[in-house]
Symmetry: C2
Subunit: 430 residues, 2 copies
């Protein structure tokens, strides 16, 4: 096979060239090639290919923690849950995690999935990269790999000789009031969260991980997302969910090391040792009954959330970031309904429990009854699944439940980041 | 109801404020508020909310032609086909087209769907805008409205007293070899193409048009798209489809007035008069068998397309924009396979027929058999459906057909643009 920078192909592929320049850098690569999405000169065409030209940001794959947890939330999501194929054993899983990590380390730097890539291998063999991201940059791509409960034991069978290393907390989430979870939209041996600022870069990542997995694992379910519904750094504005409300106002921020250590990262010294520095990932596919919601009066919508739709301020007053005052009265009644979403979910109502949210809106066409099929792929990171479980139980009486429906559910243990040249989950195979 | 700029709400809603500033401008609004997607200063966070801040471009809704046909192709698509509800008559259709046009004229300028919008109406009534785009700008939004054959006659019934005005060419596309079209992914009384540089702005548009239509029409099918697969202006790079190849190299460009007049716009003086200045929209949902394709050798993939995967150059040599030489030989054989896609689709093989393409890639999770559900929402504009029909028939022997499957099909007559204060299709109701 030819080398990365070799000959004809390097001339063809901006992706290869850019990748070669940025590969191996340890820090955040940003700036040099940045250009405005829209030209500041009105006589210019506004039609430059935004995604291709404007997304050179890259995040390192290797590090103490996996990227994609506290990374500033990118614009697009592809989430996929994989199942190992029947007959696969411990070495197959190990090799898959190694191959995925190698590919992820490359594509997150704007490189192709392998050195040969889409164009550089034997032309009589299938390409080693599917090619649809050839002209695109890293686009802030992150790949975050999690391990599901079934990987450690399924129906009493220890398929991968991992049962002894199973964290006691890693088990399917319990049923919650009102759940309508479907098996085909839930669970998975492996969960992969891909985030990027270009949807084609995000899809390319999932597709190439699936291609690499071909004889070892298959996709169980997947979901594309857009319009991130959280912020993870203070400079990100708070986006809106498809109910029209700001979502994620009080999220834990990446700048808040103390809160991350307290609520998100599993501390060193904890058992099992392979998960120290990792976290737990909870995914819930939450369908929103948007037509029913759109028929609710504004006053009712705001009462249900406990916040003003415009500003995001709590109904007790102030601005978006003012702490809600649950004792405040308005016209002789509670300013914030005791059954409102903001109160039930608030840390003060839940013994201080917090989670790091990272959800995305989704749209999947229309249902057979012609309702819009849309909602939220809720994604949260926490050092114990018990945090999510406690919060979700507190929402049992949430008035919002009349307009949403949990149709998918999964939990994954997210190992710490791989060290340079290593792979995610390596400590499991010592 | 309060006025647009009135009081508290204007302070809350950047969208309202921006919209108020740009509403009514006749030309392209671009520039003043533009800012880089990624900061050129490395010490800045790269995490500013790109979609909200970087997309002030707006295109006028009113004009000789509808926007969204020759408009520089935006990054995201929402396409929806609607059916009028049973019992609806001529006045219901007229009022719907009027209401849609009024809303489209507003939202394409970054305004809310009505003057009262999400926050300014009676708080005890449902909001008149769903709110998820409150903080977002126009994002290059275009709304393009088409009229399906069934609107003019369905099962012999003239529901809307329009049969006399039906263009003879407006009928469902004929079946083509290999078609696997599904009724639930095909047809529609009305077709709405929404394009924008922000997926949340695009979804907001379709959702609010559906909300406005609530008692008059329902969504029959819809599809989100990303990664435009064509360019319509010379400054746009040629993007790649999900087979990894550049797609749309030889598309008609918006700068090429002569070719647009010849192939796309229906000339003044033609019959029926209400369609002069309009065009025909063909939509085909084309599933791609990506796993099968990914197993093909590079040489085979290139032979099927007739182009190099990297550069997009024809296999007869040159660069992406070199004209293919179908007589060229390589190693004693045709350099470009006579059954290749580029040759079969080429104007020189089709009596000079050209169409204006505007397709988008799509991904919809996985099939029950765990294959990736992805492909191309093919969209083309032409002055006669016969152009698409001729080209599609020429592709009957295309080797690419082994890797793609046409699963949805629709055709719509696209009226000319509305004049200021008028509505799309108004000439039908004189």
């Amino acid at each position: 096979m030819s080398t990365e920078q070799g000959g004809e192909r390097a001339k063809l592929s901006r992706r290869s060239l850019l990748g070669a320049a940025s590969a191996g850098t340890a820090g955040l690569v940003v700036g040099g090639l940045a250009r405005p999405l829209v030209s500041p000169w009105p006589e210019d065409s506004p039609a430059a290919p935004a995604s291709a030209a404007a997304s050179p940001t890259s995040y390192p794959f290797f590090g103490a923690h996996q990227a994609g947890v506290t990374t500033p939330v990118q614009e697009h999501l592809q989430f996929a849950a994989f199942d190992m194929l029947e007959g696969m054993g411990r070495r197959d899983l190990e090799s898959l995690l190694r191959d995925w990590s190698e590919a992820a380390a490359r594509i997150t730097q704007g490189l192709e999935a392998t050195a040969a890539g889409a164009l550089g291998g034997d032309p009589e063999s299938p390409p080693e990269d599917t090619g649809e991201a050839l002209d695109l940059q890293a686009a802030g791509l992150t790949v975050t790999i999690g391990l599901g409960p079934s990987l450690f034991e399924r129906d009493g069978v220890d398929r991968f000789e991992l049962a002894a290393q199973r964290p006691p907390e890693l088990e399917p989430l319990p049923p919650f009031d009102g759940d309508r979870t479907q098996v085909g939209l839930s669970h998975g041996d492996l969960g992969v969260q891909v985030c990027a600022n270009d949807p084609q870069v995000a899809f390319h990542a999932i597709r190439n991980l699936a291609r690499i997995a071909l004889d070892r694992a298959s996709i169980r379910w997947s979901q594309a997302g857009f319009g991130r519904t959280s912020r993870t750094v203070a400079t990100q504005g708070t986006p809106r969910n498809l109910l029209g409300f700001k979502d994620g106002t009080n999220n834990i921020l990446a700048e808040d090391d103390a809160e991350l250590e307290r609520h998100v990262w599993i501390p060193s010294g904890s058992k099992p040792a392979w998960l120290a520095g990792g976290t737990y990932l909870v995914v819930r596919k939450i369908e929103m009954l948007v037509e029913a919601w759109d028929r609710e009066p504004l006053s009712s919508q705001q009462s249900i959330f406990g916040r003003a739709k415009g500003t995001g301020a709590p109904l007790s007053g102030g601005d978006e970031f003012t702490a809600p005052d649950f004792a405040a009265k308005a016209g002789g009644k509670d300013a914030i309904d005791p059954a409102s979403h903001v109160r039930l979910a608030h840390p003060s109502n839940n013994g201080g429990v917090r989670i790091l949210r990272r959800g995305y809106n989704y749209v999947s066409g229309v249902h057979p009854d012609r309702r819009i099929d849309a909602g939220l792929l809720f994604i949260a990171y926490q050092r114990s699944p018990s945090q999510f479980i406690a919060l979700q139980r507190a929402l049992a009486t949430d008035k919002l439940n009349d307009y949403i429906s949990h149709i998918g559910s999964a939990v994954f243990a997210v190992p710490p980041g791989a060290s340079e040249g290593g792979f995610v989950g390596e400590a499991l195979f010592g």
